[in-house]
């Protein structure tokens, strides 16, 4: 545990002292803010329209969660596809470039401690990102009347966090495979696309194969959380995905000694 915290702490400190993180966070906040603004504008226009018709029944079916929060979080999932690989490429590729991998591997550290240390740092960064993401919906709680559903909003945030954590574990694994930051970033984005879109193939198939593809794809699980449904099978899916990629990462680092 001490080792994991030492590695995570060093990683976070590096993240906070290099400009990359600030640039990515700022870009994220601008893009997400604009999307949030557009969704909100659409929502208000809809309410105005309904009010103009005087259809009070329809007014009660309009929800901020459905109109604003869920769609904008959906866009964030696409942003994550690019953002998370950019955050994870550095982890091991840079370590190998600096020659510091040799220092870690000759110190009395277990390989899983190295992997988990890096991952804990990534979760910390992701948590920070979630905090900033939550600021926009928080505004709606302050000034919205009626405000959003708190639990549904929270489920959406958890969904985003788990999606980021899964893409992060995958990015970490990919980063162990190459010295090149560019290759790691591109491969990370491609692999993320695959994980997000693999269930599209299920639409053209039927039977057990389609079921499997739908389960393997990450989108369905994420959308359940976005809709406010906390199902244990989705949580298990995220847990297994993260554990799988972290184990692959551990094996891959272990194999560095043999190459």
């Amino acid at each position: 545990m001490k080792h994991i915290l030492a590695i995570a702490g060093r990683e976070l400190r590096s993240f906070l002292t290099t400009p990359v993180g600030y640039v990515l966070f700022t870009a994220y906040m601008l893009v997400f803010g604009y999307i949030f603004y557009l969704s909100l504008k659409g929502h208000l226009q809809r309410i105005e329209l309904i009010q103009a018709y005087g259809d009070l029944q329809a007014l009660s079916t309009v929800s901020v969660n459905q109109d604003v929060i869920a769609p904008s979080f959906g866009v964030v999932s696409i942003i994550f596809l690019f953002l998370i690989p950019l955050l994870t490429v550095r982890t091991f590729a840079e370590e190998r470039g600096n020659g510091t991998m040799e220092m870690l591997l000759t110190s009395p550290l277990a390989t899983w401690e190295i992997v988990l240390g890096k991952y804990v740092a990534l979760l910390g960064i992701l948590g920070l990102l979630m905090f900033f993401t939550a600021l926009y919906p928080a505004l709606l709680f302050l000034i919205g009347d009626p405000g959003p559903e708190p639990l549904q909003t929270l489920a959406g945030l958890i969904g985003l966090f788990l999606l980021g954590a899964s893409l992060g574990a995958m990015g970490l694994f990919i980063s162990t495979l190459t010295r090149s930051v560019v290759v790691a970033a591109l491969a990370g984005i491609l692999a993320g696309l695959l994980l997000l879109l693999i269930d599209v193939a299920a639409q053209f198939l039927s039977g057990p194969v389609a079921e499997v593809l739908r389960y393997v794809g990450i989108r369905d699980h994420f959308e359940q959380l976005l809709a406010g449904l906390m199902r244990s099978e989705d949580l298990v899916y995220f847990g297994v995905t993260i554990a799988l990629f972290l184990s692959l990462g551990r094996i891959s680092i272990e194999s560095l000694r043999w190459r």
């Binding site: 030492a6 060093r10 002292t17 040799e102 000759t106 110190s107």
Partner: protein
């Protein structure tokens, strides 16, 4: 302090190190001498536990590597050929991190870090960011990282390569001081002959993955100048890369 027997390393078809055996006593300063690609780095990487050996046994500080790899790693301080530095960190921060991952207890950490910085002449630049340091100073930071946990054995891979003449003199002086301090055992590799004469008491000449010569400086001087002996024993190799 270090006991290596029948050590071999095979990369695919290429036998980089074959049946190397030697013993190094406590407090000895041994120079691993050999042309590039002779197997110096590979041997050092096996002793430090970075590379697993294909065959053979390694015992450091009475601990068998195969049975107690973490114990061996705690007993060794290692400076690879390219110092393993995080350019964005400050010198103290970096050395403190090295102490933390080598199990230096939290209560002793500050004192140990300060001592390592002082021994390596880094006190004045402790708060500098590593990327702003000159090469000589980076090498010192690499040495500080290697000694911070108080290892009994220091393994240095070409510690003066890429330095200017003044830096070389200073780093050599530093290595001699670190060796004298606490009777540390030092193994360093080099292909610079005067370096060996200046720092080491004993020479292990390695060529094409084998030990060609093992003796004290005086014993070897009996066979001619160091250069003559080197050229005779380390006949040109067409070996692989010094990986």
């Amino acid at each position: 302090m270090i006991e290596v027997s029948k050590l071999s390393k095979q990369y695919g078809d290429f036998l980089a190190v074959r049946d190397v055996s030697f013993k190094i006593a406590r407090g000895e300063v041994v120079g691993f001498l050999g042309p590039n690609g002779a197997g110096k780095t590979t041997t050092m990487r096996m002793i430090t536990g970075f590379l697993p050996q294909t065959n053979g046994r390694i015992v450091v500080a009475d601990r068998d590597f195969d049975k107690d790899p973490m114990g061996v790693r705690c007993a060794i301080g290692y400076l690879p050929e390219v110092p393993p530095l995080y350019p964005e960190m400050r010198v103290t921060e970096y050395v403190r991190f090295a102490a933390a991952i080598r199990d230096v207890p939290r209560s002793e950490r500050r004192a140990r870090v300060e001592r390592a910085l002082e021994s390596c002449g880094l006190t004045g630049v402790a708060q500098r960011v590593i990327s702003t340091l000159s090469r000589g100073y980076r090498q010192r930071v690499g040495l500080a990282q290697a000694i911070v946990h108080g290892p009994q054995v220091l393994v240095l891979d070409e510690p003066t390569s890429g330095l200017d003449p003044i830096q070389i003199v200073e780093i050599r002086k530093l290595i001699r001081a670190l060796a004298a301090d606490e009777g540390r055992t030092v193994v360093l590799s080099t292909h610079i002959l005067p370096e060996v004469e200046e720092i080491c008491g004993r020479i292990l000449l390695i060529s094409r993955g084998q030990i060609r010569l093992d003796g004290t400086l005086d014993e070897i001087r009996g066979q001619g100048t160091l250069e003559e002996v080197f050229l005779r024993e380390a006949a040109p190799t067409h070996g692989g890369p010094d990986a």
